[in-house]
Symmetry: C2
Subunit: 352 residues, 2 copies
């Protein structure tokens, strides 16, 4: 069937998978050549080609989210001077000040300049042919700028079609991934998902969630009846030699929901103490003081961080108690952990 742009196309079911678009800073000059966003592989190839063709030497990264920090590593590997401009005093404050300082130290150890408490004011072409980046802390020149200040769900089609948006501004879907119009489904970065710990819809534009939603929507359109149980908010990234991960709620998020919380933070080791290559690992567990249930965990360290967060994410999904976590039967051998895993140690500390 040939389809032209103006032909109406009949359908029984419609799947909306319009994704997300990068958030714009809304400053003058943001359309200049050499200013990039990074959403997909095509963008990555374009940025890399630009670096090689222009023999770029200086990169400025606006924002300090996951994509921004991952890009810092890529830029440094290519030998670029790299500066991050960020409004707050520390990157990844969601992980807590102590962990954010570890992340900042990792950036600085690897040659990234972090301009804290700095807001972007605009861009101008520099006489040298470069870009002049104007900030609240002064101007700096760059061959290349990456803007990584988040994304917004692409909901224009959904809005025109009259689909309900949820409280986050993304398309509202039920657990079968149906929108407010039952024969229209949505999945991925354009829609919300249900957070099983906060019991609220959230906007979490991540690739693994998009995959799950797409599969479940497709199965339901195809005649099955599968529900997406939602997420517990697991997330991770690598920046240089540091693993950073979290699941569930931070203590601040839980308190903002009106919960009484307690937390325990420990420094552990990723393998047995005696084992070569064992690295430092910091874990914080957050629990609800009323029920004693786990609410979330954040971790940072050189090794074994994501694997611990995945165990805790599984515990969160299953509502495991802190008592269970304190004596959880994890596989033990010195190349992989101590006889007491950092998870056990943190849970026992929090139980006290």
């Amino acid at each position: 069937m040939e389809i032209s742009g103006s032909d109406p196309l009949p359908f029984d079911y419609l799947m909306v998978a319009t994704g997300a678009t990068p958030r714009l800073p809304g400053v003058s000059g943001e359309e200049l050549e050499g200013i990039f966003f990074l959403r997909n592989v095509t963008d990555a190839i374009r940025i890399k080609s630009f670096i090689h063709e222009r023999m770029a030497r200086r990169a400025v990264v606006v924002g300090a989210g996951l994509v921004s920090l991952e890009a810092c590593e890529a830029f440094r590997r290519l030998g670029l001077e790299t500066t991050v401009i960020y409004r707050q005093d520390l990157p990844m404050r969601r992980w807590g000040e102590d962990f954010a300082e570890i992340i900042l130290a990792e950036l600085e150890t690897n040659g990234v300049t972090f301009m804290a408490d700095t807001s972007l004011e605009g861009f101008e072409p520099a006489p040298s042919g470069q870009i002049m980046v104007k900030t609240s802390s002064g101007a700096l020149e760059a061959d290349l700028v990456l803007i990584g200040i988040g994304v917004t769900p692409e909901v224009s089609l959904a809005s025109q079609a009259g689909l309900n948006l949820g409280p986050t501004g993304a398309i509202a879907v039920n657990e079968r991934l149906q929108t407010s119009v039952p024969f229209i489904y949505a999945a991925g970065d354009c829609c919300e998902c249900f957070h099983r710990v906060s019991r609220k819809p959230v906007y979490a534009p991540l690739g693994d969630i998009a995959n799950k939603q797409g599969r479940i929507a497709g199965a339901n359109i195809g005649g099955q009846n599968i529900s997406f149980p939602g997420i517990v908010g697991s997330i991770c990234f690598k920046v240089f030699n540091l693993e950073v991960a979290s699941t569930g709620l931070t203590e601040e998020e839980a308190r903002n929901m009106g919960l009484e919380t307690a937390s325990a933070t420990i420094q552990g080791v990723s393998k047995a103490h005696v084992f070569p290559g064992s690295g430092e690992l910091h874990i914080r567990l957050v629990a609800d003081t009323d029920s004693g249930r786990l609410l979330g965990a954040q971790a940072v360290g050189s090794d074994g961080v994501v694997s611990r967060i995945n165990v805790l994410a599984t515990g969160l999904s299953a509502n495991l108690s802190l008592e269970e976590l304190a004596y959880l039967d994890l596989a033990y051998a010195p190349p992989f952990s101590g006889a007491w895993d950092p998870i056990h140690i943190a849970a026992q500390k929090l139980l006290k």
Copy 2:
């Protein structure tokens, strides 16, 4: 207080932590110099000193359990010719023939000779001063022999004291770690523990379990009231560049208990396909066809094996369904997994 060997010592509580003793092969010559067991750091130091002092070049390992295979790696690192003598055709058959073949290949790739279907018949001093190892497949000379055919619980004191032994031959304890005499507790390799999947007492002499039992017994003696929920049978080891791990029951074990089972085996990758350093990973999930619940998992691969088994062990502890596992919210980033983790893929395959 000074204690002499014959003085009776009054007590309110007694803690039995007599551990385990290496199983002897029961063949002639097993007391010869150069024949070792490996139970603790002192043993390891003795073996290493012997290798250096005698300039040992050839090691024979009797048995193919965890300790034996770990010792193979240590011997090869020290440059010894290393031969394993084993009664069965493959090492670690509990992991299934397909995975056992991967383990065998890893041994052979790293220069270990595996003598399959071979039983030990005895030892004799060789004219050269070495040890002649007589087997059902012929004799071979060694400078050093390591016997790793398992351990038996040390229960002589417990038996003399009239404590009940359990069906495994180890000391029976309740969930508070009390023996059949309520003011006598036992913990560690001398006693049983409760397997939460088979719902039976098992003998699992592993360091992490001993630590947990010791802590709980101590807490209860000290006036707290803590129960040990038991184990799900998580175990792991590293042999050369291979990680091997399992949790819960194998399909054979489950069938021997009279359960109807189904299993799915997949080959996945430890990180995203495109990511440098991503390794091969094989996972098998075993489920109960009646209830659909997970019964166990076995895995082998170059990377990320133990971390997956720990997630599945947590799922087993919490009785997570296969549906939950198929869409579990694990932290995703390309350095750590694909958007679909091998756990998701295996669970979805098993659901079909």
